[in-house]
């Protein structure tokens, strides 16, 4: 069993109104000095066997095509075999 962890974040230049709303809430709840909040997504994908070769390449491609939108988002992917 391999576990694939894909983190997706909006690109820095894309406005993140959700992050901004969370930033406001943190301030209202007493946390001072919150300079910025960005909200992202994490996908945990468990696959049978080891992930290598074509299947690894496909997973990487789909992280960029399905799990994230390259127009507005960046992703990082790591694997725990």
């Amino acid at each position: 069993m391999a576990r694939v962890i894909v983190d997706v974040m909006l690109k820095p230049e894309i406005l993140d109104p959700q992050g901004r709303a969370v930033q406001g809430a943190l301030g209202r709840l007493g946390l001072t000095g919150v300079a910025d909040v960005r909200q992202g997504k994490q996908f945990i994908v468990d696959v049978d066997g080891t992930l290598e070769g074509d299947r690894l390449a496909l997973m990487e491609r789909l992280a960029g095509e399905l799990l994230s939108n390259p127009v507005i988002e960046d992703f990082t992917m790591r694997i725990e075999q």
Partner: protein, 224 residues
Amino acid sequence: MRVGVVTFPGTLDDRDAARAVRLAGGEPVALWHGDDDLRGVDAVVLPGGFSYGDYLRCGAISRFAPVMTSLVPAAQGGLPVLGICNGFQILCESHLLPGALTRNGSLHFVCRDQRLRIENTGTAWTRDFVSGQEIVIPLKNGEGCFVADDATLDEIEREGRVIARYLDVNPNGSRRDIAGISNARGNVVGLMPHPEHAVDPLTGPTADGLPFFTSVLTALVDAS
């Protein structure tokens, strides 16, 4: 002229889109997301709604539906395609149109009668308008904030591919007040507000949306 209207799981506005096609003088043809057969239609409308529950990102899963495997190459080949609201999101996710639609700047779902200015009357879906014409049609979205990088925005502005811009208020924070854009060829158009809800004064605020649907019919007649 036969105009396909695609239904995905979670599509809401397919019936109104089909009605708009009919009122414009065309024959609406129901297309199904799970079927890659475009049934020989002359144009396609991707209607609004919440396809696949808007899960992952709006339009992200619909993009890979069987019907899209036929529609994307057909659109690249010149088939007129209009994406309204969720349909616009699907066109962006499919990379048939540049940019993306993100959460409204206000974080609120916005529903209002929206004034727009039609800026490009050269596309398959806007040719029955007068350039600079101002119209009022409903707008209803939670993720309608059009974003693209500055280079892309400059390019589509330079090429006249902003087909409509918001007037009075920018309801969702879209860059440069952009309400709708086209591809370079002008056959693929994405629009966040809903012309299909404004085709009959009895049921909409105006009939200002009807020319989107008559436009494609005249474009098809001229092309044949």
